[in-house]
């Protein structure tokens, strides 16, 4: 498999007044296309900072991040936004659906920003909602849905534009364990089907069991990388 994401010696320091806080010390990792990677660590370990940098939301203090060969840490905000629009899907812990839009409209929002015409994007949104098992919920507002349903809308939204990479930040953090299981199975099944790369950030070890590789982060450094691909193959 060809490498999709190349992280080289990334370091991130926050300045809090006089004090310097090292969020990431020296992180290097290569992630391949179609892989499901779980970044696990306690709160404050630097895992979220790492995710934000992979998504281009933050810039590293030092080091390089290449996605598909593009050095995203050098792009300006406008270019990185366009890059995200085309290549990256996001799933959030708090779902982050827009409250005034229906499920279907939320799902098609990334396509709206891409400038896809209404007919095409309605069809794509319906298809995405169907694949997350939410047929019949198209016209519901987020406030009229359960947490699990909202997160499934969130997944549909992240996947609707067929991005190469999907980032999930504590996707099950607000869900009970049964729903968490459902949501994780759905996510992994869908990305595998389309050979998309999924990067999950969590502090929950049970979530990590769905990944091909578990990257444990502690105090801004990669503590261990655990390959789970063989086990996945057994399934």
């Amino acid at each position: 498999m060809k490498s999709l994401i190349d992280v080289k010696n990334v370091r991130k320091i926050y300045r809090m007044g006089e004090e310097k806080v090292v969020a990431l010390d020296n992180v290097s990792i290569t992630i391949e296309r179609g892989e499901i990677v779980c970044l696990i660590g306690t709160s404050g370990s630097g895992k979220s900072t790492f995710l934000n940098m992979l998504a281009g939301l933050e810039k590293p203090t030092k080091g390089e991040i290449l996605i598909g060969g593009i050095p995203i840490h050098t792009l300006n905000e406008e270019k990185i936004t366009l890059f995200r629009q085309k290549n990256i899907g996001f799933i959030f812990q708090a779902y982050h659906l827009l409250p005034m839009l229906t499920a279907s409209e939320n799902v098609s929002l990334p396509l709206v920003f891409r400038g896809t015409d209404k007919k095409t994007r309605d069809a794509m949104a319906t298809e995405a909602l169907e694949s997350v098992g939410l047929i019949g919920y198209e016209k519901r507002k987020p406030s009229q849905m359960s947490g699990g349903q909202q997160q499934r809308v969130g997944i549909a939204r992240a996947l609707v534009g067929k991005p190469k990479i999907i980032f999930a930040d504590e996707p099950t953090g607000n869900l009970d364990s049964a729903t968490s299981k459902e949501v994780l199975e759905l996510m992994t099944k869908m990305v595998k089907a389309d050979n998309q790369t999924l990067i999950i950030v969590t502090h929950d070890r049970s979530v990590a069991s769905y990944a091909d590789r578990i990257v444990t982060i502690k105090d801004g450094n990669i503590l261990s990388i655990e390959e789970r691909r063989p086990e996945e193959n057994e399934k």
């Binding site: 936004t81 995200r84 982050h96 005034m100 920003f113």
Partner: protein, 446 residues
């Protein structure tokens, strides 16, 4: 993001925060109404000024007078293009000015008309009969003067009502119908003011001076009920000059031999040209006056009033603009997270900016639209139900008339465009701010 989606999303956001949107829109409505209604009252005033002045006479008309006295230069010594007296040469020069459609010298003589026992006294204006039509005199009965007319006269339509029998009454009673028919009855005229009245024993002009009595013929009655032409009688200037000279002779006064006139009337086709024509004539060394001079100064005054009223309105729209800015800033604080989400899932920076500008512009547009509609309604009310009350208030400012408020279409369109522009401008800084919000910071804000 295409425009349709942008409009849809912006509308959604406005509808979501109904109360706040409504308040911001209301601010714009009040501002727009203030400007439009204030201006409309100003326009109404200038319309009623014009209406009033038109009722005094013809706005196309410029009266020309010789500069008179003190400057008695011989005709040969006149500067080129300058005239100290109003003679035929001057009339020709005036005729040549651009915009002038007709010119006639004008003399005036006070004569007494008699029909049987009935008499009436009136000012008779002598002018060149062939220009009457060009001067826009309209006929009600009969015809206007023609070139061959001599003792034929045309009456202003009030004059026939003045005929009375001096042996029975002191003056004409205001009947519905004149007591004589000036077009068919035998008509005489004379310079004798006491013609037809009871002879008194006292020594009066009438007893000592022998005025000639002329046989006249009424050929027409004018159809200008409102302006001053209703109160005059018109005839051929040459004949009237002759009568005037004969009257002077009868009184034993000297008769001037030159063909200098006291006055001339100039008809200008386009009211807009009146002031330039007046200027040109004044440059010739003659004096002019026209109702238009007066109208100009009243219009100037009306423009000032419009400016003041519009300014008051503009202040309230400015306040509305602050309201919009405030609404949008609040909206950004409230929607920080949402903006972050949109950015993370792929909204371009210009899209975010456009969305907020669109929302602000819509507040302006909706407010402007409703404001214009309400203003039209208010204008209608002021011109109908509230007309009398408003006239009482505005009368003191020199306004008032059959219309109080006039909203020209371009004011309505302009107000709508202005309100929208104000909205967009008010939204500019909040929109920039929204665009610059860090996506990450926004998402942390929970």
């Amino acid at each position: 993001m295409n425009s349709q989606d942008l409009i849809g999303l912006a509308l959604r956001n406005l509808v979501r925060r109904k109360t706040r949107t409504l308040l911001a829109v209301t601010g714009v409505i009040v501002g727009t109404c203030a400007i439009v209604v204030m201006l409309s009252i100003g326009f109404g005033m200038s319309a009623s000024f014009q209406e009033q002045i038109e009722s005094y006479g013809n706005l196309h008309l410029v009266n020309v007078m010789s500069s008179g006295g003190g400057n008695m230069v011989g005709a040969g010594m006149e500067e080129e293009g300058k005239f100290s007296t109003l003679n035929d040469k001057a009339i020709k020069a005036i005729e040549a000015i651009d915009g002038v459609e007709a010119v006639s010298p004008k003399i005036e003589e006070y004569l007494t008309f008699g029909v049987g026992k009935y008499i009436a006294q009136a000012s008779v204006i002598g002018l060149r009969p062939e220009v009457m039509e060009k001067f826009n005199y309209k006929i009600q009965d009969g015809r206007l003067l023609k070139k061959t007319d001599k003792y034929e006269v045309v009456f202003g339509n009030q004059v026939p009502f003045w005929f009375y029998n001096p042996k029975k009454t002191m003056y004409a009673g205001g009947g519905d119908k004149p007591q004589v028919d000036v077009l068919t009855d035998e008509l005489v005229m004379t310079g004798d003011y006491e013609y037809g009245q009871k002879k008194t024993s006292a020594v009066t002009d009438s007893n000592t001076i022998k005025y000639k009595l002329y046989e006249a013929e009424g050929v027409g009655v004018l159809d200008n009920p409102d302006d001053e032409s209703a109160y005059y009688v018109y005839m051929n200037i040459e004949t009237l000059q002759k009568i005037a000279n004969e009257n002077k002779k009868a009184r034993g006064e000297a008769v001037g031999r030159d063909n200098n006139y006291n006055q001339a009337m100039v008809y200008v086709g386009d009211i807009e040209d009146v002031s330039t024509v007046s200027d040109t004539i004044r440059d010739m060394g003659l004096q002019t006056n026209s109702l238009n001079d007066w109208l100009e100064s009243m219009k100037e005054q009306a423009r000032m009033i419009e400016g003041v009223l519009g300014g008051i309105g503009a202040v309230s729209l400015l306040v509305a603009a602050l309201g919009i800015t405030n609404t949008m800033v609040m909206s950004i604080y409230e929607r920080t997270k949402e903006i972050g989400i949109m950015k993370v899932i792929g909204a371009n920076l210009p899209d975010i900016k456009r969305l907020f500008l669109m929302e602000a512009g819509m507040i302006g547009f909706l407010g402007g639209f409703a404001g214009v509609l309400i203003s039209l309604l208010l204008s209608l009310l002021m011109n109908t139900v509230l007309l009398e009350t408003m006239n009482m208030f505005l009368g003191s400012m020199g306004g008032g008339g059959s219309v109080i408020s006039v909203i020209p279409w371009w004011v309505a369109a302009g107000a709508l465009a202005f309100a929208t522009a104000i909205g967009v401008i008010a939204g500019f800084s909040p929109a920039n701010r929204a665009m610059k919000l860090s996506a990450l910071e926004s998402l942390r804000n929970e």
